[in-house]
Each structure stands twice: as structure tokens, then as C-alpha cells.
Amino acid sequence: MGLVCISRGSYSRGKELAESFAAKLGWECLGREELIERATDAGIAVGRLEMAVVKRRQFSEALVLEKEHYQAFVTKELCERAIRGNLVYHGRAGAMLLRGVSHILRIRVVEDLESRLLRVSERLGLSRDKARQYIDELEGDLHRWMRTFYNIDWDGYTNFDLVVNLESMSVDGVATALCSYAQLPSFQETPAVTAALENHLLAARARIALARDQATYRVRFKVTALNREVSVAYEPSDAGVAGEIERVVRTVEGVDAVRCTMASTNILWLEEQFSSEEPAFDDIVHVAQRWGAGVELLKLQAAEDGEPGEPREAEVRRVDPDLGASPADRGRQGGIEDDSGVETAGAGTYGGDDLQEVWGELARLGVAGGARQVEADPRELSRALDRSTPYSLVVVGDVFRSKGSAAKVRLKRELGAQLSEALRVPVVGVQELRERYISRGRELVRAACFGIIVALIYAAIFTHQKEILALLLPQTTVEKVAAVAGLLIFVPVVAFLYGKVTKTLLHLVGIE
């Protein structure tokens, strides 16, 4: 199994390069055009998606569903072909659908503007100005597509392993050089990569099945898979179809168990070692249940070489998804762990697989939002994250365990800043989670203090109405300045204080 994804701009000879490269390697070559044709044959309105992006339309619910269906279809096609043999794919950013899967060689092809202008002028018979305008529009469409579909910046070169500029190199020469590159150990097949691709494939197949069933096709789902178990999250407004999800997903070949979660948002929880016995587990479940959120687990495993590098999706050992089975039975389940060469650290309750055990517990409590294990330096983690998932909170647990305490604090702080920048959501540690989102005592005391201040302010206003209103009828300049300054300071302060009081009161009854 080998997979190379080439992202090509408009008129930059990316297709030519992909075909030459695939021919030299003797691999299958798949282009975006063929993929679109297959998707259209499968009933996906790719044309409508393209038009919505080109016309800069806001996506309606129906188009968002069509987008999810299309992404699942592309994921399925890429995974199937990659697992079956070797594949060179050339298109826009197919590799972004397989985020976190290592050993995919991701190449971006660029070329200087002059050569591209010349090519457009020749092929389409356009003047230089018109050709320039045409390329600008195409590039604009590509940028919007990347932003809409993958939430990435098309010019963000860190999304690729290699950026090839064909300005002064021949396609044949570059293809030959790339062949050597593809032989590097970093891009060779491993059981962990195959397992990760199988997880993506199963999730994509389940998502497609849901998109094609009459009962569920109008609903948005977040589908993930882990060792033949499929986790489906749906929003509270779609609770009516909850009973149909398992029926539909069970029809997909290879699905052993289905876990459904009603969640309107997601909490990402990072650990090097998960345990449902730790207080952090109860805290996170508590917050997730209050928020109606799904908890996505991300187990970090330090890269084998200990050097910072590209995040790789490591294999997770298979355990029996049947929750009724005894722990001893679960421990006997084999899977492919013997082939992996990747050790799963620690010994959890179920055959040493702490990730699967905690995932199972979360599913039983109705807050499972997926689970992954990534072999990477945590500092490189943001590159493995799915930017299109709407997270509300990231909880960073006990990571950098091998480091000293001072280094640990510093690295965790840096990781928090990096994740906050990448996902634009609050990133907290376990302790901070408890203090900010759980500890009711301090929150209640503060709200009570604010409540008293607010009550005094209101009492003062309504017992001295005439005097207060007189202050707001300024005559002299000094009075006017005082009235304006007083109002502009006083009003936001009251809004803030009373806002905190109402927020706390609603938290208490579970509305937030």
C-alpha cells in the first residue's frame, strides 16, 4: 500500500506530473475529474457544491449535507484504492480528508505565473489580461474551496511534505526525483497506517449509508470508527432519527458495534494514558453532559525516534466491542497488535487498551465523540487535528510524561497556545477544567457577591429616580461630560455583573 496525493493549482502541470510519476512507479493514477464523475454517478450533486463555492453562496443545510456526503465518498474511494494497492491521486487536497494518517506523501505543485499565463493564453486563446483575470478567479475559487471544505489556507505550505516548483524543471525529471522520495521509510506501509485507513474507510462507508437512507439522509452526523466500532454523533435537534442510526450503520460490512451520541458540540481530550478511574474522567463527563457535548479522545504516543516530526496515526489494539463480555474475554481479543511493532503503553482494565476502555465508558454514558491514537511529538499535534470539527473546549491531560516537571509545565503551556491558535477554542488543563467549569463553590460565591452589588445598584436607582434622572439632563459642559462618562462606565459594569449572575443561575439548572 502506498498513497501519494498531489495538490495542483490551475494550469500548473500537476496532472502531467502525477501521470508521469504514477507511470514510473507502476502505480494506479486517479484524477479529481474521474472522482467527480464517479461521485456524480453516485448521485452526489458535486456541480451544485462547485457553483456554491464559485458564486460565494452561503451553504444551506442541504448543501452542507451534500458536502459531507461528497467528503465521505472521496475518503472511501481513496482508502479503498490505497488499501487495495498503490495510488497516486491528483486533485485539490484529498490528503486533508485523511488527516493524522502518516506515510501519505503529500505534494503541492506550483509554477510561476508567466508560464501559466502563457499556457492559458495558448489553450483558451485569451489575451494576457484576460488570462490573468481567469487565473485569479480560478485561484480565488480554489482558496474558497479549501477554506469551505477543509478549513485550511491553500497557501499554507506546512500542509504538505513537499512543494515542487516546476518553473525551471522538467516534469519527467521531477517525477524521477519523486520516485526516490517515495521510497523513503517515512512513506512506507505499516500495519498502523493500514489500520488507520481502515478506520477512515469504515467511517466513510457508514456516513455514506446514512446519507443514502430515507430516514437519515436529511441529518448531519459526525462519524468516526475505531477497530470496527462506529461512533455516530448527531445534534439534539435531530434526536427523532436516533433510533434509525444503528439500523442503517449495521448494514455496512465490517461494522461490529455502533455507538450513538447526541451532541451539539465536541470536547477534545488529550492524554498519553487514559483511565476512567481518574478524577479527570468524571470531570470531563460532567462537563460534556451539561453541555450536550461528545468527548473525542486523542491519545498521544511519543514518536519512536523521539524527534519532532509529522504526526502519524498509530494503531490501536483491537478489543471486543461487546460491552457485555467479561474483562477477561476482552483481554483475549487479538486484532493486529502483534504485527504493529507499536507498543500500547500501560495496562488498562481491558487487555491493556486504555483508549478503547475509556471510549467504551464514554459511550455507555452517551458522550462518546470518537477516539484516535496519534504517534507524534505533541508539539506537532495541531497538524493532525481535524479543523472542520466544531470543538468547544480542549482538555490537555497528563502529557509530556517523560519530561521533568518544569519542562512539562512549559511544554504544556506551549502546546495549549498552539492548540488555541489552531482551533480558536479555550484550551485548559485538568485542574483548570475543574476550577473554571466544575467548582461550583467559588462560582456561587462570586455570583452571590455580584448579585448583592446589582441589587444595591437597582435599589439605589429606583429609590432615587428623580435625582438619578436629573443627572441625565445635563445643562453645563461639566455636567454633560460627567453624565456621558458615568453612563458609559456604569452601563457595561451592570451588564457584566448581572450577566454573570444570570449565567451562574442558568448553569445551576443545566442550561448553558
Binding site: 435537534s237 480558536r424 429616580q465 456621558v484 452601563v491 444570570t502
Partner: protein, 369 residues
């Protein structure tokens, strides 16, 4: 006109105060649910209680300022605020607000030939602007909902924004967060319109957000975040202007907060549990009912100005009908939202109970219980 306590400020008895709190609550729920400021409900609601229009607008714009400050901070954390665009629009919108305050103040002082009817001209003017603008907004939104339901087509078209961009009216400014290049002339037009409407009827977002999306081509999330950023400054500037003229009743602002800050959280929770198409449908219907409510009051102001010959006893009837229609719009909208919120909340509680029971059963089977 209600009894006055001081200059143009009305006497607030307990019943009136509670009605203002209720207006704030309904406006807050609608605001959290729809994403607008809720002024389209609160301003006419206060006018129905006998508050002079200009004071209703002044007090509401002051109330809006504090709320926008909190909302803008949250959007800023999510990267949805284009500060450069916001600051450009703010600079122009201040002129729009100033024009609006000047017109309102001027009209407020007009009396008829008999020296009565003070404030009726401003009330009529505010009501007419309200009816015209919100009719267009409500009808467009309803049409959008029906079109989406029928044909599954995408959201707002960017044709107008692209046509304007093609005109290349120089000079242009590039806004990195929104990723758009816009002519300064279009910015001036949008800023003036937004400021003028915020200053006239306390409703800025209904114009600012669609204008940013349709005319400038800003992504929806950025348009909403930037509008809140704008609303914070416009609210502050509007409040400043109205307080200088003596038209801010701080008691009304405080009473509105009592209801609105509670309602806004409930409304926002509603958006998590109600489908988007339902949100837009409810919003458009509420807006259109509010428009009808305000239109009913127009003959009353015309009579007060001596422009329409109807019996003065109709004033009470028209005011009551207008008030009833507004309350009907607000309360029915809020009931729909609350019904969904409670249903979703109960469903979640039942689900967690069921899962907890299942977990206990499984633990017992595993011998772990």
C-alpha cells in the same frame, strides 16, 4: 401619553416596570435565538407603554451597548471580528448616528398648531422607518426560507457583491480577516445606512449584517462578529448623543437588562436544539408581526399631528391593538422557542437517565457493580 415624572421621563409604576422587564426578556430570548439585538421588539414595546419614541430608542441603544460589548468579546475570541473593517464602518456610522439623532430630536420638538402633539412627529417618523425597513427584511427572510425549503438551494447570493467589486470604484481597501477588497464608497454607504438606522430605530444589525454579506461579500460568521464589534461602538456613540440631548432613561435600560440578559442565554440555548430553517422561519414571522403592530399605531400619530381626522378615542383602541399584536408576536415566538428548549432539555435528561441505568445493568453483568 403616560404621566411624566420629570421632563419627558414617564412615571414607572410596578405594572409598567414589570412589563418593561417582560419586554426585555422576550427581546433577549429573541435576540439570543435570532442573533439580532432584539430592538425591533423592545423599542415599539416601550412606545406602547407610553414611553416617547425618542426616549425608547435612546434607552434601548444604551442597553444594546453593554450587551454588544460582551458578544463582541466572544466573537473576537473565535476570530470572527474584522477589526479593520469594523473601524472603517464605525468612523462613517458615527455620522449616520449623528444625523439620526438630529432628525429625531428635531421632530420630537414639533408641536401642532394648538401646541399639542409633542413627540408625535418623531413617533410617526420612527414608526414609518421601522415599518419600511423591517417589512423588507422580514419579507426577504421569509422568501429565503420558502425558497430553501422548496428547492434546497444555497444561501444568499454574492452576485451583487461581485457586481460592485467589478466596478472597481477606487480607492479600495483590503480586509484580511474577511478576505475582501472593498471600495471606500461602498463602505461609506453601508456605514452611513447602518449608523442612521441604529440611531433612528435602534436596529443596526438587520441592515449591517445583510449589507456586509450582500454588498461587501463578507462571510456570514465574520459579518455577525464584526457587526457586534460595530454595535458596541455605535451603541456607545448613540448613548452618548442621546444622553447629551437628555433622552436616556436609565431606569428603562436597567429594567431591560433584568429580562434580556436572562432571555439571551435561553435563546442561545434554543439555537442548539432547533433546526436552522425553523429559526429563520420563526424570526421572519416575528419581524413581520412586529411590523404590523407598528403599522397599526401610525393612524394615531397622524391624528395627533392633525393630519388625519379621526375620533381621539380611537387612540386608545389603536394603541391597545398595536400592543396586543406586538405581545402576540413576541410571546408566540418565545413560546415556540421555550417549547423546543424544554423539550430538548427533557429529552437529554431522559437519555442520560436511560444510559445511566444501562451502565448499571452492564456493570452488574460484568460483576463490577
Amino acid at each position: 401619553m403616560a404621566e411624566l415624572l420629570l421632563k419627558d421621563f414617564i412615571v414607572l409604576d410596578l405594572a409598567t416596570a414589570l412589563q418593561v422587564v417582560l419586554l426585555g426578556f422576550i427581546g433577549g430570548v429573541l435576540s439570543g435565538f435570532i442573533g439580532s439585538g432584539g430592538a425591533f421588539f423592545m423599542t415599539p414595546g416601550m412606545m406602547n407603554l407610553g414611553v416617547p419614541g425618542v426616549i425608547a430608542v435612546g434607552s434601548n441603544i444604551t442597553h444594546k451597548f453593554g450587551k454588544a460589548m460582551v458578544g463582541s468579546k466572544k466573537h473576537g475570541e473565535l476570530g470572527n471580528v474584522d477589526r479593520k473593517l469594523g473601524l472603517c464602518l464605525i468612523a462613517v456610522s458615527f455620522i449616520g448616528i449623528r444625523i439620526a439623532v438630529w432628525i429625531n430630536s428635531f421632530l420630537f420638538g414639533i408641536e401642532d398648531a394648538h401646541g399639542s402633539g409633542k413627540g408625535a412627529a418623531a413617533d410617526l417618523y420612527i414608526s414609518m422607518v421601522f415599518v419600511i425597513i423591517l417589512s423588507v427584511v422580514g419579507a426577504s427572510m421569509l422568501r429565503d426560507v420558502l425558497r430553501t425549503t422548496r428547492s434546497d438551494q444555497g444561501g444568499p447570493s454574492r452576485k451583487l457583491a461581485e457586481a460592485l467589486a467589478r466596478l472597481r470604484l477606487k480607492p479600495e481597501i483590503y480586509f484580511p480577516v474577511a478576505d475582501v477588497r472593498v471600495s471606500v464608497w461602498i463602505l461609506i454607504a453601508v456605514g452611513l445606512a447602518t449608523g442612521y438606522l441604529a440611531g433612528t430605530i435602534g436596529v443596526g444589525g438587520f441592515i449591517g449584517v445583510p449589507a456586509m454579506i450582500y454588498l461587501i461579500g463578507v462571510p456570514t460568521a465574520v459579518a455577525t462578529g464584526t457587526e457586534l464589534f460595530l454595535a458596541m461602538f455605535m451603541g456607545a456613540f448613540g448613548a452618548l448623543n442621546y444622553v447629551l440631548e437628555g433622552y436616556v432613561d436609565i431606569r428603562l435600560t436597567m429594567l431591560l437588562y433584568l429580562g434580556s440578559l436572562l432571555g439571551i442565554y435561553i435563546g442561545a440555548y434554543g439555537t442548539k436544539v432547533v433546526k436552522e430553517v425553523v429559526i429563520r422561519l420563526v424570526t421572519s414571522l416575528i419581524i413581520l408581526l412586529c411590523v404590523i403592530s407598528r403599522a397599526i399605531a401610525v393612524p394615531m400619530y397622524l391624528r395627533q399631528l392633525g393630519w388625519l381626522a379621526i375620533d381621539p378615542k380611537w387612540d386608545g383602541f389603536l394603541n391597545a391593538a398595536s400592543k396586543l399584536m406586538l405581545m402576540l408576536a413576541g410571546i408566540s415566538g418565545v413560546l415556540v422557542i421555550l417549547f423546543n428548549v424544554v423539550r430538548a432539555f427533557r429529552r437529554q435528561v431522559v437519555l442520560h437517565r436511560r444510559l445511566a441505568a444501562l451502565a448499571v445493568d452492564e456493570d452488574a453483568l460484568d460483576g463490577r457493580g
